[in-house]
Amino acid sequence: MTLKTHLLAGTAALFALSGAAHAESHAMTEHPETGEKLAADQSFTYRVLDEFPSIDPNLIEDVEGSHIGRNLFEGLMNQDDKGDVVPGVATGYEVSEDGLTYTFTLRDDAKWSNGEPVTANDFVYSWQRAADPATASEYQWYMGLMKIANIDEVISGDKEPTELGVKAVDDHTLEVTLSQPLPYFPQMVTHTTTFPVPRATIEEHGDAWTQPGNMVSNGAYVLEDRVPQEYITLKKNPEYWDAENVIIEEVTALVINDENQALTRYLAGEFDQTDVPAGQFPRLSEEYPEQAVSVPNLCSYYYNLNVSDSGPEALADPKVREALYLAIDRDVITNNVLGGGQKPAYTLTHWATAGFEVPSIEVAQMSQQERNERAKELMSEAGYGTDGEPLELDILYNTSESHKQVATAVSQMWKQTLGVDTTMANMEWQTFLEERHNKNYEVARAGWCADYNEASSFLDIMQTESSYNDSGFSSEEYDQLMAEATTAEDPLPLYTEAETILTTEFPILPIYHYATVFMMDENIKGYPLENAQDNWYAKDLYRVAGE
């Protein structure tokens, strides 16, 4: 029920966003669209886990930093409350027939917070800066993903940043040339790396341009104050082109490392939003049904099986892999271990991915008992398990309570159903990454989050050359399907086929699709609960007057 009220509010915010709202000046007392009575205090305060490595759009590398980036700056396109692309600084775009040239038309009333107009040159400067080797942005890999012409040569220093395929035709026309067609390109320019940055300010202050007092931005908010590891405060930007429809006046993110402590402080009324610690969602949603929210989050949790030469012999047999896949009771994991609205996953791509339908595979329809029976058969056919050769496997995961719980459950299921003995090994994050990447493991936990809301963002990782393909899986057919999908009119059948390959070969065992669970003050409305990437904009939120 909570979900429903929030959804309605979200839709309302969408109308406000699309410019249909009445022009009303400061201190609104009612929401211009819904007519809800607004609170006098229009502030939004939320908790973040950790300090942002950077709030420079070209350098932002974490999810929480991206939220700040989206509020301070505005890119060519924004996302609405469902994650669909809507105009930002650009009012629209045209694609050439070959799909290689995108021409964005920029609105003429977009301004920086110092009153200067936002022009196409600001985007050109920003994109060149992001790609420049001297900037050394980690998100150069994202620029590479965008397939802008010459991007790889610019990153490697073989060509000058000025040779990047982006140019300003005039102040309000930006032309982007790609090296290959990318149907989801407009979706990609909603990402902070592509946001404009103020050249004059950066040249004046250098790395310190992101400090309060120095920063100039073009989004709905400006940087007011920042104390690292403590808080960051944003204030409404009066120069923002749509400022009259921005209701929230002040946004504050509090850095609180401990999630339980954050929850206690949230319950004491200190702020408006915080994450729900693992396993506490069922209790909280019962006690605070109006505040506990679970929304899909575009990440998939799975186990890698090491099918490379360094992997154990048993895992080279697809029957063993399938048996391991079948014997995991995913409902127990999502309902009893996690209990936060996660969904069982039999395939890789998250169910909420835009334009994607989860392939209806047979296994997903079976009961767990049927799966277990089948798993046992496969195992004995392969000559392992209770009536065959004993099988021992190591499960590797990075140190964390919830990964441990999942691993414990899985190892119990494998033991009971298949007679497989498992050893659980946890490692500190960096060590874990290195071991997994070097394929020094048998079974290793992995989680993947989409970079953009499209199935290829998941399926690409299983390509032979993908740097995240730690299982050692390699299939020519698969690679070819994914290559075809980039230019296909309707890539969905190709994606379904790719998923089918994964569920015949079983290099990975999908376990669940993530959900984000958080507590949110019931008076805060307009949160995009249907945006599966959780890309929210404070300009779309508002606080209604409580009873």
Binding site: E61, A136, Q140, P228, H437
Partner: protein, 307 residues
Amino acid sequence: MLNYVLRRVAIAIPTILLLVVISFVLMYAAPGGPFNSDRPLPAQVMANIEARYGLDQPYWKQMTTYIWNVVVHFDFGPSFQYRDRTVNDVIAQGFPVTLTYGFWSFIVALVVGVALGAAAAIRHNSWLDYLAVGISIGAQVLPNFVMAPILVLVFTLWLGWLPGGGWQGGQIEYLILPVIALSTSYMASIARITRSSMLEVLNAGFIRTARAKGLPTSRIIWKHAMKPTMLPVLSYLGPAFVGMITGSVIIDVFFSTGGIGQFFVNSAFNRDYSVIMGITILVGVLTVTFNLVVDLLYAWIDPKIRY
């Protein structure tokens, strides 16, 4: 005396250099690096980043450049994790915070601990003694990671008296809970050391003499017993003081104070080499300094000690 101080300082310099070298070696021996993440970066992007931070240089060169910059320019380098800040910025922002709550915790632990311990010793085997011992054992078994959430539960959620975290430039209401949480177990240790030390002193011959002379008890305690009692306490206080002012990750994590302890631990997990080094050196220098201060105080308290 001056000679002694100079000698100690002369030993301190190679000690700290050794600390730098060992930390450097251990840091690079640990798997991973500051820019490794869940999604491995393309080789070229990684190369650009390593070039920017000088990580493409041989280790010995990185180390000597680092030491040179620290010694000559007092520059601890850029943070690898926080792109818009240098290590000097990180320390300049975090250390004053830690120093503030660490200092007040120290004062509270010292005053309450000594008072409790002394009172227990003076009224040996009375209800006051049992109470003091009870309190100090209780405080000792309640580590700060248990104390911190309980304090917030009681004073923030139930009573609503104090904010559950934040710093706000160190205003008093933001200071109280961290100070209680940090000082409690130190206070307990100080109380126990003071108590046993004073019990021993009170049984010593010179105290008996003072009693026999008919001196009032208060005078015996303050004038004669207190100073020797403090000797073992003092050797505990040196490292304890450094421990408190260089921050407790628990306090920073639970109360979001923005102190340096948090940066220290995070930098180790993130392999933020320059921050690890910067804070290690800071803690090293402080430890050496306060050990020296404590040794000098010994001589002041106990005239038998000569350097």
